[in-house]
Symmetry: C2
Amino acid sequence: MGRPKAARGQGRDRVVAAAIELFSERGVSGTSLQMIADRLGIGKAAVYYQFKTKEGIIEAVLAPAFEQMRSIIADGEGSDSPQEVAIVGLSGLVIAQREVVAALSQDPEVRRFLETHNEASELLLQLGAMLLGPEPAPRRRVAVSLFGGGLASVGIDPALADIDDEALRSELISLGQLLLTA
Amino acid sequence: MGRPKAARGQGRDRVVAAAIELFSERGVSGTSLQMIADRLGIGKAAVYYQFKTKEGIIEAVLAPAFEQMRSIIADGEGSDSPQEVAIVGLSGLVIAQREVVAALSQDPEVRRFLETHNEASELLLQLGAMLLGPEPAPRRRVAVSLFGGGLASVGIDPALADIDDEALRSELISLGQLLLTA
DNA sequence: GTCTATAGCCGGATAGAC
DNA sequence: GTCTATCCGGCTATAGAC
C-alpha cells in the first residue's frame, strides 16, 4: 500500500503521451522505444516495464479515439440523421485528439494494426456507413473519402495552429455538411 | 556498343516502381531495401548499384510528381484564375499518380525529406497560395487544408477503386470548387 | 520503478568476385 | 548488373542488479 492511488497509471500515461508526440512527428515505424525513453528521461527497460511490446503502446495510444468513435456510433443509432451525428462527432474528435487522429488514419503501421484487430476496423466501417447513408452515389462516396482524409490532415496542419478549437470545429462541421449534402 | 539505348534506365525504373508500391503499402520507414530487392527478385546490393542511398530512391519516386506540380504552377502564373488551375491540376495529379501522391503527402519520412530540400517545399507553398488566394478568411484556410489532405487520401482509398479515372477527376474538381468558393 | 547488460535480429551501406 | 560476404549500428525484447 505505500503509494496513493492517484499515482497509479501515471507511468503508463507518460509513456503514451510521449508516444503520441513522437508518432505524429516521425510516424510509428520511425519511432523507436529508445526515443520514447529518451523523451521521458528514463531507460528503455523502464518503458518495457509499462508495456511489454511496442504494439501494446500503439493500442494504448489509439484506445481513447476508438472509445470516442464508439460513442459517436451509439449516438447515431438513436438518431434520425446519423450522417449529421457523424459529421459533428468526427469534427469534434479531430479537435479533441489532433495528434492521435493523424497517427490513427495516416500511418501504414496503424493500418496493419487494424487489419489484425477486427473490432477496430468494424468501428471505422460503421462510421463510414453513417457518412455515406443508404445507396450512395459515386459523388457522395468521393465526398466521404475526401472529408475523412481531409479531417485527419486538418488536425495536424501547422498552418491552422492560430485558429482556435471552437472556430475550427464549426468550420469543419459546416464544410462537412456542404460536401456531403451536395 | 553492347546494349540498345532503350534498355538504359530500366533497372532504375524497376526499382522505383517497386519502391512506390512498398512505400504506399508500408510507408517509407517501414520499407527496407531488402524488401525492394526481394520484390524484384534481386539482391540488396543490386539495388545499391542503381541508387547509392535510400534517400536517392525517395528522390526518384517523388520527382515526377514535383515535375507535374511545377507545370501546374507555370500554368497558374499566366492565368486570371490560379485557384481554378490549382484545383484542376491537383485533381489530375492525384489521378495520374495515386500511390506517389499518398506517400508524398502523408509520410513523415517524406516530410523530413522536404525540410532538407527547400526547392520542393517552395513548390508546395506556391500551390497552397494558389488555392488560398489573397487574404484568405479562416474558412477558406480550413477548406484548403481539408481539400489538400483529402485529395491525397482519395488517391489511395481502396473503396473508390471501382470509380474510373475520368469520373473521379471530375468529381474531385467539382467538390474542390464547392469547398473553395464557399 | 528504473537501471545496465546482453541476446539476436535486421537495418543501411560497402567491397570485391563473377 | 547481380551476387556473396561483411561491417557497424540500431532495433525489439529479456534478465537481473539495485
